[in-house]
Amino acid sequence: MDLHDLTSAYALDALDADETEAYERHLAQCEQCREQLAELNETTGALAFGAASPAPPPGLRSAILEAAAAERTNVVPLLRRRRLARGLAVAAAVAACVVVGLAVWAFRPGPRHVVAVVKIGPTRRATLTVTGLPDAPHGKIYEAWVIPARTGKPRPAGLFAGPGESVRLRGAVPRHAVVAVTLERAPGVPAPTSAPIITANT
């Protein structure tokens, strides 16, 4: 069985269980098939819109959201604490704020969709998580900056080496400050030397 030519059938979910398993093992090792599959998936994703779409039953939305909420709170105790913290914040009438920055970075070989999420707590302490970036090249590091609206001067706020790491930002994030990320020389610099990859306005 030539596994390469199962890509179309896999994209259509037209493999039986054994073939699917074999193909997924192959996929883990074959960059060429992963690329081809990503392309084919866009087409099968279009086929999904080829079906008529009557309104779903009205209870489906709440059923999904209730099941989702129950899952997170029952299974992951850490998140329960987070929810509690959120409840307390609301009780104190100081809403915690989530800020998202989006950018398309012209990165070779192709543009990357970079997403930065800044979660600001009631005391204006914040964490930053960026996805979509490659690992920092050798000798470089990503540096986070907080730019207060009042001074407009970037203040170094943390370092990270790759995507998905959560960085606790140094110092408080004042209202209307901008959080930005640049790629800098390791182990970081006191003032940015390059234009930011992504910014999020708070």
């Binding site: 279009a46 819109f49 999904i64």
Partner: protein
């Protein structure tokens, strides 16, 4: 002040603020529960961080398309409802594994829905005895449709109609009928290699047809 926008690629802004002015990527801000203007990919990221409102927003964008797809494959409302619920819980559980570079979030969500629906339809033994006719497009008369989704459906249907008959039949039976390639080879009395090559050629041709000028390229729902 240090100009933050310079680093962004000169792409046409595709998002707008509340006054309908274009907003450059990266200048975007939201607070919880005001997610309507976020990209699908950003919503998946927020879902990975346990933001229930992000999951709700994704459902509001794609729940209807998801249900239509599941209903087409399963032909049973209760089964379709279960498949959509399982798929969205799959989104919730595996959001952190979503890789934006590998494709759109909407594609990923609908892939989960389709996979789930196909799993269920293959388990349903009664389907095995049905004829192939059941995989053809059901009547949409009397179905009240969302305008944007109707437009997308017409676009896909018109591309499908332009495929050679053998390719269209194979794609429809596989994707909407949930038949595996081996089942199709047997039922259509064709060698497996023929079925594989029809799938490959059919998908490649569909891709070309959908990319033709005059057809909207973006699948992102803005409604």
């Amino acid at each position: 002040m240090w100009n933050a926008v310079a680093a962004h690629s000169p792409e046409r802004p595709d998002r707008f603020d509340s006054l309908n002015r274009p907003v450059a990527a990266g200048e975007y801000r939201v607070v919880s529960r005001q997610l309507a203007h976020l990209s699908d990919e950003a919503l998946v990221l927020l879902a990975a961080r346990s933001e229930e409102s992000a999951l709700a927003e994704l459902y509001d964008r794609y729940g209807r398309a998801a249900y239509g797809l599941a209903l087409r494959v399963l032909r049973d409302q209760a089964l379709a409802e279960d498949a959509v619920q399982d798929a969205f819980l799959g989104v919730w559980r595996t959001a952190s594994k979503f890789v934006p570079e590998r494709g759109r979030a909407s594609t990923w969500i609908l892939t989960l829905v389709h996979r789930r629906a196909v799993d269920v339809v293959r388990r349903e033994q009664r389907r095995r005895s049905e004829s192939l006719d059941h995989a053809t497009e059901p009547s949409v008369e009397g179905v009240e449709e969302d305008a944007w989704l109707r437009l997308q459906r017409e676009r896909v249907q018109s591309a499908l109609r332009r495929l050679p008959d053998a390719q269209r039949e194979t794609l429809e039976l596989a994707y909407y009928g949930g038949f595996s390639q081996s089942e199709l080879a047997e039922r259509l009395g064709q060698p497996l290699g023929t079925i594989k090559s029809r799938m490959f050629s059919g998908l490649s041709r569909m891709r070309e047809l959908l990319e033709e000028p005059g057809t909207e390229k973006s699948w992102t729902s803005t409604t």
